[in-house]
C-alpha cells in the first residue's frame, strides 16, 4: 500500500533507532496488517478509513458539519449517556459475579462487596453514581434536543425512540434500586409497585378494577402480592438481562437514525449577519453552499468525545472514592421507615401522590407525560428553529415545555429536600422532628355536581378560549392537533390547580365516586 512505503527507513546507511525498528517490524507484520487496514498518517483518506473501517467508530458519519462539533451544541449529553450505558453494563456485569438475587443472600452480598471483595466498594459506588448521572443526562439530553428543535422533520421518529429510551432508563434504574434488598430498596419499590396496582381496570386498587390482587398489574410485576423473593428475582432478570437488551435494540435504532438523519446542526450565519437580525433559515437560502461544508469526524469529533468520556470517568471515579453508595438496614416488610422516598427521579411523582390518588399520580399522569412527549414532533408544526435556540418564533412551544420541565424538577426538589417524617413540609435547612404534629386541617370533598361543573368548565373554557382569542393558532393546527395540544396543556395546568385547591382550600377531591375507586 502507498502509505506503508513512506514509513520505510529513508536510507540504509543511517543507523535506525531500535524503537523505530521494533515499531516498523510490528506495523509490517501480518498480524498488525490483518487488524488495521490502513496507515495512521494524517491524510484525508486515512481520516475517512479511520471511521469506515472501524466497527465501533462506524457509528459516526465520515464527515460532520462544523456546528455539531461545538461542545455547547449538544453538551455531549447524548454521547455521554451512551457511554454511561456502556460503563454501567461493564460494572454491572462485574457486580453480578458477587451477587445472588435471593432474599437470603442479596443484602449480605452487598456487605461482602463493601467489606471483603477487592475493589468491591469502588465498583458498586461507580455503578450507583453512574446510574444517577445517566438518568439525569438522558433527561437533560431530551431538553437540549427540544430547545434546538432537533426533533423537527426529518427527526420526528428518532425523538419518539428517544422518549422510549428515557422510559427504559427510568425502568433500568428503578429495577436496580431493589437489588441491594435494604430498607431503602424495598420501600421505594413497594411504593412504586403499588402504583401499578392503581392502574385503571388492570390494577386491583385502581378505578373500575376488573381483576383481583392475585391477577393484576402489580402481581405480574412482583409475582406475588408483596415485595418478596419472586419480586427480587423478577427485578434482577429485568435489570440485568431483559431491559439492557431492549435498551440496546432501541439505542441501536436511535444511533442509526442519528446517522441517517444527520445532526440537526445547520451552518449559522456569521456574527455580523446575526446582529442584523438575519434568521439562519433565510441566510442559509442565500448561501446553500454552506450546507456542503463538512469536516472529518476523525479526529475532530472523536477526540472530543474521548476527552468528554475521560473527564466524566474521572469525575465519577472521584465521586466513588469520596462517597459510598447507600446501604441501609436489612429489608423488613413489617417496618416502614419514616419517611420512605422513591428514587429521586420518581420523587416528583411521589410528591404528586399527596394531591392525587395513585391511579392519577402514578399511572395516568406519567402515561400522559410520556405520550405527550412522544407527540411533540407531530403536533409542533412550526418549521423554524432547527439547530439553534429560538424563542421568538417558538414562544408557545418553548414556554410550555419549560413550564413542564421546571415543574417536574421543582416537584423533585420539594419531594427530595423538603419532605420529612410523615411527608411533612420542612425547609431544607430545618431539622426533622419525628414528633411534629400535622398542621393540615381536616379536608373535605367538593360536591360531585360542583366538581363536575368545575372540570367541565375548565376543560370547555380552556378548549374554546384560545380558539376564539388566537384564531391563527387554531387555523394553523387544524382541529385534531389543536385538541391534542390543548388537552395536554390543560392537563398540565390542572396539576398546579389541584395543588392550590388542596393546599389553600383543603379540598381533597373535586369528584369522588368511592364505589369505583374513582377520585379526582
Amino acid at each position: 500500500m502507498a502509505d506503508e512505503k513512506t514509513e520505510s527507513p529513508a536510507s540504509p546507511e543511517k543507523k535506525e533507532p531500535l524503537f523505530n525498528t521494533i515499531a516498523r517490524t510490528v506495523r509490517q507484520s501480518k498480524i498488525w496488517k490483518s487488524i488495521f487496514r490502513h496507515g495512521y498518517q494524517d491524510t484525508p483518506r486515512n481520516r475517512a478509513l479511520m471511521v469506515l473501517s472501524n466497527v465501533f467508530l462506524h457509528l459516526h458519519p465520515v464527515k460532520t458539519r462544523p456546528a455539531a462539533l461545538k461542545f455547547r451544541y449538544t453538551w455531549g449529553l447524548g454521547g455521554l449517556s451512551f457511554y454511561l450505558f456502556i460503563l454501567l453494563t461493564v460494572t454491572g456485569v462485574f457486580l453480578m459475579f458477587y451477587y445472588r438475587p435471593t432474599i437470603e443472600h442479596a443484602y449480605w452480598d452487598m456487605k461482602d462487596l463493601r467489606y471483603a471483595v477487592p475493589f468491591g466498594p469502588f465498583l458498586r459506588n461507580i455503578h450507583r453514581w453512574s446510574a444517577h448521572v445517566m438518568v439525569l443526562f438522558v433527561m437533560l439530553h431530551m431538553a437540549s434536543v427540544f430547545y434546538r428543535s432537533a426533533y423537527k422533520p426529518p427527526r420526528e421518529y428518532n425523538w419518539v425512540v428517544g422518549v422510549i429510551l428515557l422510559l427504559i432508563t427510568f425502568l433500568l434504574s428503578f429495577t436496580g434500586y431493589l437489588l441491594p434488598w435494604d430498607q431503602l430498596a424495598i420501600w421505594a419499590v413497594t411504593v412504586g409497585t403499588n402504583m401499578a396496582a392503581a392502574t385503571p381496570l388492570l390494577g386491583s386498587e385502581g378505578p373500575f378494577a376488573i381483576v383481583g390482587p392475585d391477577m393484576d398489574a402489580r402481581f405480574i410485576l412482583l409475582g406475588s402480592k408483596i415485595v418478596g423473593q419472586s419480586g427480587l428475582l423478577r427485578f434482577y432478570v429485568l435489570h440485568c438481562v431483559f431491559l439492557p437488551l431492549i435498551f440496546l435494540v432501541f439505542v441501536s435504532v436511535h444511533l442509526w437514525r442519528v446517522r441517517k438523519d444527520e445532526f440537526s446542526a445547520i451552518p449559522l450565519p456569521p456574527k455580523e449577519e446575526k446582529k442584523k437580525g438575519v434568521l439562519p433559515e433565510a441566510w442559509l437560502k442565500a448561501h446553500p453552499e454552506e450546507l456542503q461544508k463538512k469536516v472529518f469526524t476523525w479526529p475532530a469529533l472523536v477526540s472530543k468525545e474521548f476527552v468528554g468520556a475521560l473527564v466524566l470517568t474521572a469525575v465519577l471515579t472521584l465521586w466513588s472514592i469520596l462517597a459510598h453508595a447507600p446501604l441501609e438496614g436489612l429489608a423488613n416488610p413489617n417496618k416502614t421507615p419514616n419517611p420512605s422516598k422513591a428514587p429521586w427521579y420518581f420523587v416528583g411523582l411521589q410528591e404528586l401522590l399527596v394531591y392525587f390518588d395513585p391511579w392519577m399520580a402514578g399511572v395516568v399522569l406519567p402515561t400522559v407525560i410520556l405520550v405527550g412527549l412522544m407527540a411533540i414532533p407531530y403536533i409542533d408544526i412550526n418549521p423554524t428553529g432547527i439547530g439553534y435556540y429560538n424563542f421568538k418564533n417558538r414562544k408557545f412551544a418553548v414556554s410550555m415545555f419549560t413550564f413542564g420541565i421546571v415543574f417536574w424538577f421543582a416537584l423533585i426538589f420539594i419531594g427530595y429536600y423538603m419532605r420529612g417524617p410523615g411527608w411533612e413540609m420542612y425547609m431544607p435547612w430545618q431539622a426533622w422532628d419525628y414528633h411534629r404534629i400535622s398542621k393540615a386541617g381536616a379536608m373535605h370533598n367538593m360536591p360531585n355536581w360542583a366538581g363536575l361543573a368545575l372540570v367541565l368548565g375548565y376543560g370547555g373554557i380552556g378548549m374554546l378560549l384560545p380558539k376564539l382569542c388566537f384564531k391563527d393558532f387554531y387555523k394553523k393546527l387544524g382541529p385534531i392537533k389543536y385538541v391534542v395540544v390543548m388537552s395536554l396543556v390543560l392537563l398540565m395546568f390542572f396539576v398546579p390547580v389541584k395543588i392550590v385547591l388542596r393546599n389553600f382550600f383543603n379540598i381533597k377531591y373535586i369528584i369522588s365516586f368511592p364505589d369505583f375507586n374513582l377520585n379526582l
Binding site: 420501600w187 413497594t190 411504593v191 403499588n194 402504583m195 396496582a197 386498587e205 392475585d214 391477577m215 402481581f219 405480574i220 409475582g223 406475588s224 402480592k225 408483596i226 418478596g228 423473593q229 419472586s230 413489617n334 417496618k335 416502614t336 421507615p337 419514616n338 419517611p339 420512605s340 411521589q350 401522590l353 399527596v354 394531591y355 390518588d357 395513585p358 417524617p421 410523615g422 411527608w423 411533612e424 404534629i437 400535622s438 393540615a440 381536616a442 379536608m443 368511592p514 364505589d515 375507586n517 377520585n519
Partner: protein, 213 residues
C-alpha cells in the same frame, strides 16, 4: 382492499365484497409473456373478484400467524402470573377473645401478621374487629399512636381513626378489615386474604366478632 400484483385497474370501490362468492377465474389472460404495461385489458371483462384463491390462502395464513402471535402474547402474559406463591398463609389463629381488652388496639401482631386487633369498648358492645395494617394509599405500614388514638402512615402522612376511617392525608379510603370468626376451639380465626373495603359491610357477622364480656 386493493390487491397488489394483479393487473386490475378496477378500484376497490368497484369490486363489491360479495364478489368473492363468484366462481374464481384466472386474473391474467394466458398467452405469451408481455410487459405489464402491454397487457390490454377489457374493462368489461375484468373478473369481478375480491381476492383469488391463492390470495385467500395467503391471507388466511397471515391471519393464522397473527392469531398464533396473539395467542403467544397471551400465553407469555399468563406465564408471568404464577398459580402458586410462597407468601405466608393468610389464615391463622390469634388466641382467645379475652386476650384483647375492650377499647384497645393491639399492636403486637403487626410484626408477624400485619394486623391490628381492635376491640370496641364495653359501652359499644366489646366486639372484635381486625384491621389490615396496610395503608390504602400506597401500601406502607402505618403505626398506632396510642397518645393521639389514631393510625398514622409514615409514608405520606395519612391518618386513620381507631375504626380505620381515613380523616387526614392522602389515603383515598378507610383501612381494610379482615375476616374474623371464632374457631371451634374458642380461638379467634383471622383471614387476611378476605378483606372488606367498604365501611357499609363492616358490621357483617364474619367481620365483626361479637363476644360476651
Amino acid at each position: 382492499m386493493s390487491v397488489e400484483g394483479t393487473p386490475q385497474p378496477a378500484t376497490p370501490a368497484q369490486t363489491p365484497p360479495m364478489a368473492a362468492a363468484k366462481p374464481l377465474a384466472p386474473a391474467v389472460p394466458k398467452g405469451p409473456a408481455k410487459s405489464i404495461h402491454q397487457i390490454e385489458v377489457d374493462e368489461t371483462k375484468v373478473p369481478n373478484l375480491w381476492f383469488t384463491r391463492r390470495e385467500f390462502l395467503s391471507l388466511a395464513a397471515w391471519g393464522a400467524v397473527l392469531a398464533g402471535l396473539g395467542a403467544s402474547v397471551l400465553a407469555i402474559l399468563r406465564f408471568f402470573i404464577p398459580q402458586i406463591t410462597y407468601d405466608p398463609p393468610s389464615t391463622f389463629k390469634i388466641g382467645k377473645p379475652d386476650e384483647y381488652l375492650p377499647g384497645e388496639v393491639t399492636e403486637r401482631l403487626k410484626k408477624k401478621y400485619r394486623i391490628w386487633v381492635c376491640r370496641d369498648s364495653v359501652a359499644e358492645g366489646a366486639a372484635i374487629y381486625v384491621i389490615f395494617a396496610r395503608c390504602t394509599h400506597l401500601g406502607c405500614t402505618p403505626n398506632w399512636l396510642e397518645g393521639q388514638r389514631k393510625f398514622k402512615c409514615p409514608c405520606h402522612g395519612s391518618g386513620f381513626r381507631r375504626t380505620g376511617i381515613n380523616f387526614e392525608g392522602p389515603a383515598p379510603r378507610p383501612l381494610e378489615r379482615c375476616k374474623v370468626v371464632l374457631a371451634d376451639d374458642g380461638q379467634i380465626l383471622v383471614d387476611t386474604g378476605t378483606r372488606l373495603k367498604n365501611p357499609k359491610d363492616w358490621k357483617k357477622p364474619d367481620f365483626y366478632l361479637k363476644v360476651n364480656v
